[in-house]
Amino acid sequence: MQGGSNGIGYSLKYQARCIADVKADTDHTSFLTGTLSLKEENEVHLIRISSTGTELICEGLFSHPNEIWDLASCPFDQRIFSTVFSSGETYGAAIWQIPELYGQLNSPQLERIASLDAHSSKIKCTLWWPTGRHDKLVSIDEQNLFLWSFDTSKKNAQVQSQESAGVLHSLSGGAWDPHDYNALALTSESSVQLWDLRTMKKTNSIDHPHVRNLDYNVKRKYMLVTAEDESGIHIWDLRMLKFPVLDLPGHTHWTWTVKCNPEYEDLILSAGTDSAVNLWLASPPSGDKPTSESFDSPKSVDPLLNSYTDYEDSVYGLAWSCREPWIFASLSYDGRVVVESTKPHLPRK
């Protein structure tokens, strides 16, 4: 459990909350992070792991007009990403393109190729179509869900459909189902809502309050992982929404975010405000096995594989690398990016 820092570090100038894996970059393992500073000029950093794997190199540094609350990389074009930003009372979301000639590191301007400016309340996050070249994009504000149609060549985004979740459910985030591209899970004050994008209607909900973040298991269909303020991490089977199939203790304070590994089944990463990142191996009982088995063996293996505790502040940003799925990047509030390899902790297969 020693949080020994085998990880490679990289420091941003300011505080930051969000980091994203650049999925479309197939040649390098790179991440995008955005800073969160009220008074200074905010920046977007494009970081790449050096070919030796021992260093984090800044590949690009771009100024961003407002503090960045959410950042998502385009799954098909490594130069495109979206941010959610606000400062004071202003808020917005936009799709940006990294300029062609960003070799010179003198803070070149990002090209804003589209702004998602149909929102009337504070925007929470943007979600890209999970994989492949697709023009769909979702943005979520406190009350509404927008489905955008985004044209890269024309460089504009249009609202395709929009639906309100109701004033009472203040939405806080969401995730796109990688198994069913029409399904979307949104977190709200009192429940997790499951939406169908074709009808733009809520299809189901998990009545479980205080869900802060959620992620679909990429490898297992119907498996949804949620992180809560108090109760740690829950794993749900979307076919049985009454009770979670598995509980993990989570963090000592809020569990801020959870991320399922894109390659290794049941490998889950969580970050919390207790300045720690926990690596879990959680195998929920699969359907064909009788559930009683789990009662028979009370001495189950500790699902916690490792706890990385070498952080100075709360960890808000977390991203698995798609290219090298045993690698993840974490971002603590003090602006420190740490890239770690989970390889030493993975169970031998």
Binding site: Q15, L38, D274, S292, Y333
Partner: protein
């Protein structure tokens, strides 16, 4: 001598051969047929054969023998020839003599036969006359003889008729003298006649005798049923009845039914015993049990009689005996279900055992003992299991009651403390009672029980193991931690749907600790003290593992405490959330007083403190607690107090300058905020406050403030600092966290200009004054 013998033999042999050749039908033929053969196999021995060739013999002799030999041979041969001649002569004479005597005999016979014919004729005549005479006599006497025979037959018939006419009277006489055996014999003798003529000539007679027989049957039946008669007599009676073609099977069934009825009655009685024993206590038990014993004795006798009377009925009786035992055990099981004390159980088992012994004497082959052992095995197992489930129910009942009390807002001085005491007592007392009960089972030296001793001990251990495991499950379920897989459990229906009360969770947590630290050891001691003589040692017993139970409850205790804390913090969280999401912080107005959410929080803290103080013990070394929390991690972060003071002074000075606070943060060592929670008041309170402050910080970080908003936060924090100082144990950490909140607010502020210290103090004082005023008016 031998030579003589041989010679004699030779001689005799030759004689015989010669005679045979003499008498043989065709003596010449062999000699004629084999001249060649003789020539070929010529030896000196051929002389006696039929194929003798003289020339050859001569040649041979001449060739082989010398002169002397030849001469000798010659002499011998001459002598021999002479001998043969005399022998021949002798034979001829003898034959002749025989022939002569035969002719004489024939002659004599001829003379004798001549007179015999006349004698024979005379004899024939005489025999003929004798025959005619005897015929005459026969014909003359025939009629008389016929008559006599007729008379005789009639007489026999008359005698029989007389017997039948006399039969009723005779039977009556027999009945009177109770000579039923004779009566039956008579009646059976008369039976064939009745069968043939019963409908016509002897109607009356038959009826009368049948009546008599009926009385006999009745008498016999009575005899069979009467218990006073000797078994022999009853067996005889049954035999007689069988002879009378009476349906004995019916009788058998009846008798058997009687036995069964007896059994049923017995059990009614038995129940009365139970009732009596529960109502009146020991004396009546002994009285009624002696009565019961008597009746069982009777039953055993009856069974014995039945067995003798109907020897082929063993199987039925076995069944009956087993029924007896089964009924006994059913009654026992009923009682067990009603939660009887072990003394009662022992009493019941004793009664059963004496009964069984009695029955076993009567029916040794029924295997009743084994059957009883099995049944007792089951019953005791059930008893032990029942005992523990009752215990579990009792305790959960207590807890539910506590739960309901909590819900029903019953104002007591220290409701939680009382509840804890009650449930502790319920637990320990219950367990001890259970142990004592089972121990009583072992103390009785009843054969059934002593044979089961080891098993009972085993069951008790298992029972405890299961009991504690279930208790743990129940705890978790009550606290809402565990989604019970089977929601339809008897208990917890009321609690499942409702919101879980944090107090109850705390109570359970403390109870778990109590179980782990106190109850288990006591129970373990108790168990091993009474099973000390048992075959299994402390280590080898797989059924009850105190260490495992302790482990379970330790983790349960921690889990529950954690759960309590999280429930509480959840409550606080809602307050915080409302506080931070409702106002528009960017357009916040200047702070006038400490915001009321602080009051809410303090109130919440007070209730927590109240609850915690009731139940949890005080920490032993509150000031040293921090060092042992979270093991080495804290110790590596040296001297947090000094750091903190540094931080505080730094932050206070540098409140206006963010950069400096950043710098301070860079230099100070990371504070260990989240330490392991312990079952102590201070630890819990501190943990909750820490969590609350951390949450506060996180909420602040999510907002953007204008100057007034920041100042409001600053004011609130300042107020909290003064109030929390006394409640929390880990002052340094608390202070650090409070500062962190202020720093976070400053960071998220567009224009972070803090309030003057003097204003802060003034507003804080005002708030304190107001609070104390409020509290004084409320009392």
């Amino acid at each position: 001598m031998g030579v003589d013998d041989v010679l004699l033999d030779d001689k005799a042999k030759r004689m015989r051969d010669l005679l045979s050749s003499f008498y043989s039908p065709d003596p010449t033929s062999p000699s004629t047929t084999t001249p060649n053969a003789s020539s070929r196999f010529a030896t000196l021995d051929t002389i006696n054969t039929t194929t003798f060739d003289a020339d050859q013999y001569m040649n041979l002799l001449v060739q082989k023998s010398n002169l002397e030999g030849l001469l000798q041979r010659h002499v011998d041969m001459a002598a021999e020839i002479k001998n043969l001649d005399t022998d021949l002569q002798m034979l001829v004479y003898e034959n002749y003599n025989k022939f002569v005597s035969a002719t004489d005999a024939i002659k004599r016979m001829k003379n004798n036969i001549v007179g015999m014919e006349t004698n024979m004729e005379q004899l024939l005549e005489k025999i003929m006359s004798v025959q005619s005479r005897s015929d005459g006599v026969n014909t003359s006497l025939f009629e008389k003889r016929e008559h006599i025979e007729k008379l005789h037959r009639t007489r026999n018939l008359l005698r029989k008729v007389q017997f039948i006419y006399d039969l009723p009277a005779r039977l009556a006489k027999c009945i009177k003298s109770e000579a039923y055996a004779d009566a039956v014999k008579y009646y059976i003798g008369a039976m064939p006649i009745f069968k043939i003529y019963g409908d016509s000539s002897f109607q009356d007679c038959k009826r009368a005798s049948e009546e008599a027989v009926a009385t006999i049957i009745k008498a016999l039946q009575g005899k069979v049923f009467s218990d006073s008669e000797s078994i022999q007599a009853r067996a005889e009676a049954v035999m007689l009845l069988k002879q009378l073609d009476f349906l004995v099977n019916n009788l058998k069934v009846q008798l058997f039914e009687k036995l069964e009825q007896f059994l049923v009655d017995l059990h009614l009685e038995f129940k009365e015993i139970r009732n009596a024993s529960s109502d009146l206590g020991g004396i009546s038990v002994s009285i009624s049990s002696s009565a019961h014993e008597a009746s069982i004795h009777e039953f055993a006798e009856a069974v014995r009689a039945y067995q003798v009377i109907f020897p082929d009925s063993e199987q039925q009786l076995f069944r009956l005996a087993k029924d007896l035992a089964t009924k006994h055990f059913e009654a026992t099981k009923q009682q067990i279900k009603k939660q009887l004390s072990s003394a009662d159980l022992v009493a019941m088992l004793r009664v059963i055992w004496t009964d069984v012994l009695l029955m076993d004497e009567v029916l040794p082959e029924a295997g009743l003992r084994d059957f009883t052992f099995e049944a007792a095995h089951d019953a005791i197992k059930q008893y032990v299991a029942g005992r523990f489930s009752h215990l579990l129910l009792d305790i959960s009942g207590t807890l539910v009651k506590v739960h309901d009390n909590q819900k029903g807002v019953i104002e007591e001085e220290c409701p939680l403390q009382a509840a804890l005491e009650i449930s502790k007592k319920a637990l320990v007392q219950g367990s001890m009672d259970a142990l004592l009960d089972t121990r009583r089972l072992l103390d009785e030296n009843l054969e059934v029980l002593s044979r089961l001793t080891d098993l009972i001990i085993e069951w008790v251990r298992e029972g405890f193991q299961d009991f504690f495991r279930n208790l743990n499950d129940q705890f978790l379920m009550l606290s809402g931690k565990k989604y019970s897989a089977n929601q339809d459990l008897t208990f917890g229906e009321g609690t499942q749907g409702d919101k879980v009360l944090p107090e109850l969770v705390l109570l359970l947590a403390q109870l778990s600790v109590f179980i782990e630290q106190n109850a288990i050891t006591r129970i373990t001691e108790e168990i091993f003290s009474f099973s000390g003589g048992g075959t299994r040692g402390y280590e080898t017993s797989p059924a009850f593992i105190p260490a495992e139970i302790c482990r379970i409850f330790r983790s349960a205790g921690e889990e529950l405490l954690q759960h309590y804390i999280s429930l509480k913090t959840q409550k606080i969280l809602i307050v915080l959330k409302k506080r931070f999401t409702t106002p528009n912080w960017v357009k916040h107005k200047e702070p006038r007083e400490v915001h009321m959410f602080v009051d809410l929080l303090l109130q919440e803290l007070d209730t927590i403190l109240n609850e915690v103080k009731q139940i949890l013990p005080e920490g032993l070394h509150p000031k040293h607690r921090r060092t042992d929390s979270n093991g080495s991690a804290t110790s590596s972060r040296s001297n947090p107090l000094r750091d903190d003071r540094l931080v505080r002074s730094n932050t206070q000075k540098a409140r206006s300058q963010l950069l400096e606070s950043h710098l301070a943060k860079l230099f100070k060592q990371k504070m260990e905020i989240f330490t392991k929670v312990e079952h102590a008041q201070e630890s819990v309170i501190t943990t909750i406050i820490k969590l609350f402050l951390k949450s506060l910080q996180e909420f602040v970080r999510l907002q953007t403030f204008n100057r007034s908003g920041f100042q409001q936060i600053q004011l609130d924090i300042h107020f909290l600092k003064t109030t929390l100082k006394h409640t929390a144990e880990d002052e340094a950490a608390i202070a650090f966290l409070l500062d962190e909140v202020t720093v976070a607010a400053a960071e998220r502020c567009l224009d972070p200009i803090p309030l003057e210290q003097a204003i802060l103090d003034r507003l804080t004082q005002a708030k304190l004054a107001k609070n104390s005023e409020q509290s004084s008016t409320s009392y």
